[in-house]
Symmetry: C2
Subunit: 353 residues, 2 copies
C-alpha cells in the first residue's frame, strides 16, 4: 500500500479517494497513485497533475473516476505522439510529462531508448532517465550513449531502434546533439519511424530544440528583436514545420524567437516554458501538458518585415503576427491555425476525457 499520506493530506479527501480507487483499481498490488492510474487507466493521466492546488482539480477527477470503467477503457488508441518539452521537467514528484511519455510509449510494455548525446555527462543523465522509467515499470530500456559519430552506425543500437516504442532525447547542447547524430543511419531511421507514426518521441531542452528543420542554436535576450540576437542552424527535422525554443519565458526568449521566425516566417514558432510540454498528435493537434505555457508565434500571414534591408543589429519589424499563449489542457490545431481551451467541446474527439 504505497499511496502516500502526503498526497492524501493535500487532497483532503483521503477516505473518498480510497473508496473510489478501490472501486476501479487493484489496490492489493503495490501502487503509487499516479503510476497505478496511468498504467491502468491510461486516459486518466491528464487529470492527475495534483499539485498545491489539488483541491481545485479533485471535483473533475472524482467525476472522471466515477464514470463506468468502460468509458476509460474505450479510449481510442491514438498514434504515437511527439512530446516537445521545455526543459526542467518534473522528475521527482508527479512527473506528469515523463509519465505521459511513458504511457504513450506503451507503459509497462514499452521498449525505450534514451539518447543522452546532447549532454557532456551522458552516462549520468542517461542513467537518471533509465531509473525513472524503470521505476514506472518499463523492463526494456537502453541508453544509446553515442559519443562519436561512428556509433551512429552501430548495428546493435540500430537493431534496438528498430523495435523501440519510445525514444527520449535528453537536454544538453543542441549543437552537440546534432553534431553527433545528424545524417547518421541511426537518426535517419529514428526520423523515418517518427514520421511514419511508429514510435513515440520526446525531447527536452536541447532535445526539444532539435525538433524543427531550422534550429535555434543560441542567442541573447534583453534587446529589441534583431538578426544577431539568434543563432540559427539546421535541426533534426522531426517536426520540420516548427521552430522550437525552450526554457522560454523562464529565460525571457520572446525577442530571440521573434528574431528567428522573422527569418523563416513560413514555420510556426513555438516557445515552451520549463516543465511544460507541447504534445504533437498525428492529427495535427498539439496538446499542452505541465505547469507553464506554450507560446505560439504564427508569422505565416506576416504582412511586412524589414529583415532583408536590416543590418545585423538593426531592430526588426514584423507586422501582423498571430500570437497564442496556451496553458495546460489547451489544444492548438496546426492546420486550422486555431487555439481551443481545454473545456471546448470541439476538443472532445481528441481528448477522450
Amino acid at each position: 500500500m504505497a499511496i502516500t499520506l502526503d498526497l492524501l493530506g493535500s487532497l483532503g479527501y483521503s477516505e473518498n479517494w480510497f473508496t473510489i480507487n478501490s472501486f476501479y483499481l487493484d489496490i492489493s498490488i503495490k501502487i503509487d497513485v499516479r503510476y497505478d492510474i496511468v498504467s491502468n487507466v491510461n486516459a486518466l493521466s491528464n487529470y492527475l497533475f495534483v499539485k498545491e492546488q489539488s483541491k481545485k482539480y479533485l471535483p473533475t477527477m472524482l467525476e472522471v473516476i466515477t464514470q463506468p470503467p468502460s468509458v476509460a477503457q474505450n479510449t481510442p488508441d491514438t498514434k504515437p505522439p511527439i512530446l516537445v518539452i521545455g526543459g526542467a521537467e518534473d522528475k521527482v514528484n508527479f512527473r506528469e510529462i515523463l509519465s505521459t511519455f511513458w504511457s504513450r510509449s506503451g507503459g509497462s510494455e514499452s521498449v525505450l531508448a534514451i539518447v543522452p548525446s546532447a549532454s557532456r555527462e551522458p552516462a549520468i543523465l542517461g542513467g537518471r532517465y533509465e531509473a525513472i522509467f524503470n521505476e514506472m515499470g518499463s523492463k526494456d530500456i537502453k541508453v544509446l550513449d553515442i559519443r562519436d559519430r561512428s556509433q551512429g552506425e552501430d548495428p546493435q543500437f540500430r537493431e534496438y531502434v528498430e523495435r523501440c516504442t519510445g525514444i527520449f532525447l535528453t537536454g544538453g547542447d543542441q549543437l552537440r546533439l546534432c553534431g553527433l547524430l545528424s545524417e547518421t543511419s541511426i537518426i535517419e531511421r529514428i526520423r523515418q519511424r517518427v514520421h511514419s507514426g511508429e514510435v513515440t518521441l520526446a525531447g527536452t531542452s536541447a532535445g526539444a530544440a532539435v525538433m524543427g528543420h531550422h534550429m535555434i542554436a543560441g542567442g541573447g535576450s534583453a534587446e529589441s528583436p534583431n538578426r544577431s540576437l539568434v543563432e540559427l542552424t539546421t535541426g533534426l527535422g522531426m517536426i520540420p514545420e516548427v521552430i522550437v525554443d525552450q526554457h522560454f519565458h523562464n529565460r525571457n526568449r520572446m525577442a530571440r524567437l521573434l528574431s528567428a521566425v522573422c527569418a523563416y516566417p513560413e514555420r510556426l514558432a513555438i516557445g515552451i516554458d520549463e516543465d511544460t510540454c507541447a504534445m504533437f498528435e498525428r492529427d495535427g493537434t498539439v496538446r499542452i501538458l505541465g505547469k507553464g505555457t506554450v507560446t505560439v508565434v504564427d508569422a505565416r500571414e506576416m504582412s511586412y518585415t524589414n529583415r532583408d534591408e536590416a543590418g545585423t543589429q538593426d531592430p526588426l519589424s514584423l507586422h501582423n503576427l498571430r500570437l497564442h499563449v496556451l496553458s495546460r489542457g489547451d489544444v492548438y490545431h496546426i492546420n486550422k491555425n486555431l487555439a481551443l481551451p481545454k473545456n471546448d467541446t470541439t476538443n472532445d474527439q481528441n481528448c477522450p476525457l
Copy 2:
C-alpha cells in the same frame, strides 16, 4: 560653424554635406546640424537619425534635401502629438526623440513645462532636461517641481500650464508620479489640454507608464504569464485606450505585458524599448521613432482566456492575439488595427516626407 567633424566623419560625405546644406540652410549662423535642420525644416527631423549606419540613410537624406524647399515648407501643420518614450532616450548625441518633441512643441517658439515629479532627484533631472531644451533654442522653460500634492494646486504652475505648448514627464517611479499628481487641478488641466489637442505631451519611462487609464506599476520577468507577474493600478489617462510598458525588450517584459493585457483585453498593450518612441498623432496613427522597437499586443479579438478561473500564480492562456513589432518609421493605425511600413504609400498623407 558647429557642424562637428565627428558627424561628418561618420557620414563620410563631408564635402557633399556642406554643399547640400549650404544650398538650403543658412550656415552662416552658428548651427548644430540636427538642430538647424529641425528648426528650419521641421519635417526633416525623421531622417536625421544618423547613427553608425549613417551611410545607409544618406541617400534618402540627400533625396529629401535636394527637393525644392517649398515641399518641406508646405508640410501640413499637424496637431500636437503625444510622445510615449521607452526610457533611456538619447540625451547627448542626435537626440532624435527629444528634438522631435521640441520641434513639435513649437521649436524656438515653444513654451515648455518639465514635470520631474516621478523622480527622487527632481531638481537634478528637471534641470538636465531644461538644459537640453534650452540648448535646442527654447527660451521659455519651467520645471514644475511638484513635491507634494498641495503644489498640484499652485496658481503660478497652473497659469504656466495654461500657456504651455509642450509638457515633458520625466522618468522615475510611476507610483510616485501618480501619487503626487492624480486628481490635482494641474494634472486635470493638463489632461484637458492634451485631450483637446492644444499641447504636445511627452513622457519617458515612468512618464510613459502613466499614459493609459490602466497602469503597470511593477512586475517581474522570467516566468510564464500569470496574474501575480504584474501589478496594475490607475494611471493618468492621457491615452486611456492603451496599457504602456517601457524599457520593454531591454528588461524582458513581454510576459508581464501579456499578464496585463489579459486583465484588460479591450485596451491596446504597447511595449516600448529604450530610446524608442511611439508618437501618437491626433488622427489615430502612431509613428515609431528611435533605435528600438515598439511591440503592439492587440487582444481585442482574444477568443479565450482562463484568467477568471486561474489562481494568482497559475499560467495564463490567451488565445488569438494580434502582435506587431514596429521599428523606426513604421506606422500603426489604432482604429484600423493596421501596421504599415515606413515606405508604404498609404502613409504619405501622414508623413510629409
